[in-house]
Amino acid sequence: MQTSVQSSEPSSPSAGLSDTALLEIRGLRKWFPIQKGFLKRTVGYVRAVDGVNLAIQPGETLGVVGESGSGKTTLGRCVLRLYEPTAGEILLRDGERVLPVHELEGNALRAFRRNAQMIFQDPYSSLNPRMNVLETVGEPLLVNNVARGKELEDRVTEVILQVGLRVEHLRRFPHSFSGGQRQRIGIARALVVRPKLVVADEPVSALDVSIQAQILNLLKDLQAEYQLTYIFITHAMSVVRYMADRIAVMYAGKMVEVAGKESLLTRPRHPYTEALLSAVPRTTSGRNVKRTVSAGEVPDLANLPAGCVFHPRCKYAVDRCRVEEPELRPVDGQLVKCHLAEQLSLTGIGPSPNGAGRK
């Protein structure tokens, strides 16, 4: 099972991309083997991502939310082939062609990385302390044979200015920058090759509250300028509400709900989305709020419950949920992985009555 992907020959994708999508993920699976004993026998798998289907339109921001261990980071890394997917297809539109990302090798894989880049969470550990800004930001150009010498420096300078750093920063090393500035360096490094798709994995969660706004605004401005497509991975619902066009909710390696931002937040269809939203603290709720917090924790990914993965924590679960796994299916224009999606009337986060963005 785990070698099926590597063995297949690079070929033209069996089926093309649907209509307009920039990226399409089909049946993506990433199982990490659990090895035990002297011979490192595989005794089981951690199903970090288990059968995810997703289509992303050019220029949109898809927010991916979920608790830790839900597989959102693994998903992001698989899309960029930083992890080898165990199974499934990842297709990226590149002009007239469609790249079968899941089976690219060697030079083709390197060329793909010019189209897709990543912004990492921790600006303190994701930068090499022994490389200055010019080397750090210029490295993707060098390894991809895009530019060198004077041209490289010009391109680095251009992108550095774009992310709000200054020319005199070029020869400085990471330690002399603040967290917000380091994240700008990370963003510059991702954008210097002019990618179409950027996977941002918790890009602001390591930053101070007042710096977050600067970085979020910067990401929005860069998106407008370069028509970037973002996969924005975060656990912070307030951040995803500000950034995303659509939101995908992950739970235990599976996509449980995908919908437009407003409809998902105000009218969730999946009980897990409801529980997640109700857990989010709000400035308007005051003390002693009543919550529909689901008890318990994310299940053991090596030993998932039968039926719907959420049923042990779900207060609406019926017998069917315990035996039959629901499909991710369209319900009123949202995609929901729940047997009861039509019957349930769940509460989300209403727009604040007096306008939360008050002056």
Partner: protein, 342 residues
Amino acid sequence: MTSASTNDKLIEVRDLRTYFYLYEGIVRAVDGVSFEIRQGRSLGVIGESGCGKSVTAQSIMRIAPEPPARHVGGEILLHLGPNHNGEVIDMLKLDPRGERIRSLRWKEISMIFQEPMTSFSPLFTIGNQIGEAIQLHLPDLSKKQVRERTIDLLGRVGIPQPKRLIDSYPHQLSGGMRQRAMIAMALSCNPRLLIADEPTTALDVTIEAQILELIANLQQEFNMALMYISHDLAVVSEMSDEIMVMYLGLVMEQAETGEIFDHPLHPYTQALWRSIPRVEGGQDRLVPISGTLPSPYNLPKGCPFYSRCEHRMPGICDAVRPPMIEVSPNHKVSCFLYKSEP
């Protein structure tokens, strides 16, 4: 200071100054902070990193590392209440390693921290460590009674199967469970004040919600006072009766929770509110606070927010520190834009 009733005061901090004497210079981490917390009430402390909110808490517990920290001024008055004939102790006058302060930590004031993994020793079981705290303060209990009390506590903070988990080591528990164990330890001697320093920052939202609910319930059950420190506005607003906003070692504004969110007065509070994304939405664009934090080694003479403030008045704000004034009952602000209530 105009507080009328004084009998239910629990802790009173007056003009606290905690400086760090470092090789590079002096950092005035806390530079004249005053507040009080009454029995059973909760005070939220909001601020960015480096604003002095944690050092304030550590000063109360006297666990700020001394040296390099030094308490150069002010007083922290702990009112021991009727059981001790209303005795008042100045925490700053005690020896931080002495007998007296150790009898007050855990018993009168206890604290929970951001990262529960680093707050427990990895070498002893959870039960061992909680039991040790109980035994220290209640030496009359037998070993069996201590164990029973520990199991009872673990059950009360929502740890499933406390009889089994009492013998597990910290690394065997998940983050949420470790934080619950930390809370159990903090509550083991029925403290009257619980200081929570970002206890949920390292946790997932769903677990965070469970922990917040737990702290709120326990606070009511034990009629504890709570000092809740966080950079997360929403979390603080859910946990606190009153909120204090700190910036560079000073209190900028203090008011009741609803009031400070609906009518922030200080330009820093207003700027902070505009810069933070809210889950309720309705924000077209966030407005970051302009400028950068001044160097902590060289703070301005006047208002610390002067260089970033959009309402700054040259010649006034950069000359002297604005005093803390009470604009309306229970709403205090440190800004020259406002005049105290006539």
